[in-house]
Symmetry: C2
DNA sequence: CATTTTCTGCTACATTTGTGGCAGATGCGC
DNA sequence: GCGCATCTGCCACAAATGTAGCAGAAAATG
């Protein structure tokens, strides 16, 4: 009896850097207009209205968000869960840079000299606290 | 007194998918020619000689490998350690997709339903043992 | 040596990503 | 209803990435 969930459906499309920034706002609000996102990313970026618009457009094409016309304004909603997107991104990284093996990544984490003792302890704690639920 | 290694020098340049494939061969062999890499990636990819050549060229420009002329043939050598490249890639992922916080990634790992119990246990064990045993 | 093989240097070209402009349609304040 | 603010749809353009061809130089081969 296997306890792995095995492979579910197709991976959500990979998101680019800029697209992640937009998705953060989309997930946070649940439902956004171009302007909402623009507002949220002010300070983080220096994007023009058009830039956000284009990015949302591309996210629609990638199937990451859905668009619904409300009056003359588009309202966007997440079409993939953040968790799914994160999983896909993580698996893509593991595939390209860590032998396709999660274990290699974890090993790197704990062996990486840039990981502070404190962070390492945090990881252990998180694992113990969160990993126990059957 | 801080125990963090804090921020060392500048991150190695980000590598693209294709570039990671090439770098795998470069790290494995320690010293390669275009043809060596081409040989190694046969089966994995269907690249032309020129493709590998271009990729190595770009890796030189990115400072990821060094080139040395031996006769009329170029010999390439890693200029960044695999560990450093992995670290940079991992940090980039955390930055874009996991709130910039390693803890968020680890939390995702243990909470992700796609992570099998066995992998979860491995993770815990590796953390406890500091990754000392294979 | 004359050929054949193999390299290199340069160029090319499609796609994706980052960034944004312009013009026409639509909605809001007065 | 009119004008001003907004939105949208479509296009643009540079940099990065994926993928490779061509021509000339260098080396190997008979």
């Amino acid at each position: 009896m296997r306890d792995e969930p095995a492979c579910s459906g197709p991976e959500p499309a990979q998101l680019s850097d800029a697209e992640w920034t937009v998705m953060d706002a989309v997930w946070k609000r649940g439902e956004v207009t171009v302007r909402d996102v623009l507002t949220d990313v002010q300070g983080e970026t220096d994007w023009a209205y058009s830039t956000v618009k284009t990015l949302l457009q591309r996210l629609v094409e990638k199937g990451a968000v859905s668009r619904e016309k409300r009056g003359n304004t588009s309202v966007f909603r997440p079409a993939v869960e953040q968790k799914a997107a994160r999983g896909a991104a993580l698996r893509a990284l593991v595939r390209r840079a860590f032998d396709g093996t999660l274990g290699t990544l974890v090993h790197h984490l704990v062996a990486d000299e840039r990981l502070s003792r404190r962070e390492r302890e945090d990881l252990e704690r998180i694992l113990r606290d969160e990993g126990l639920d059957p």
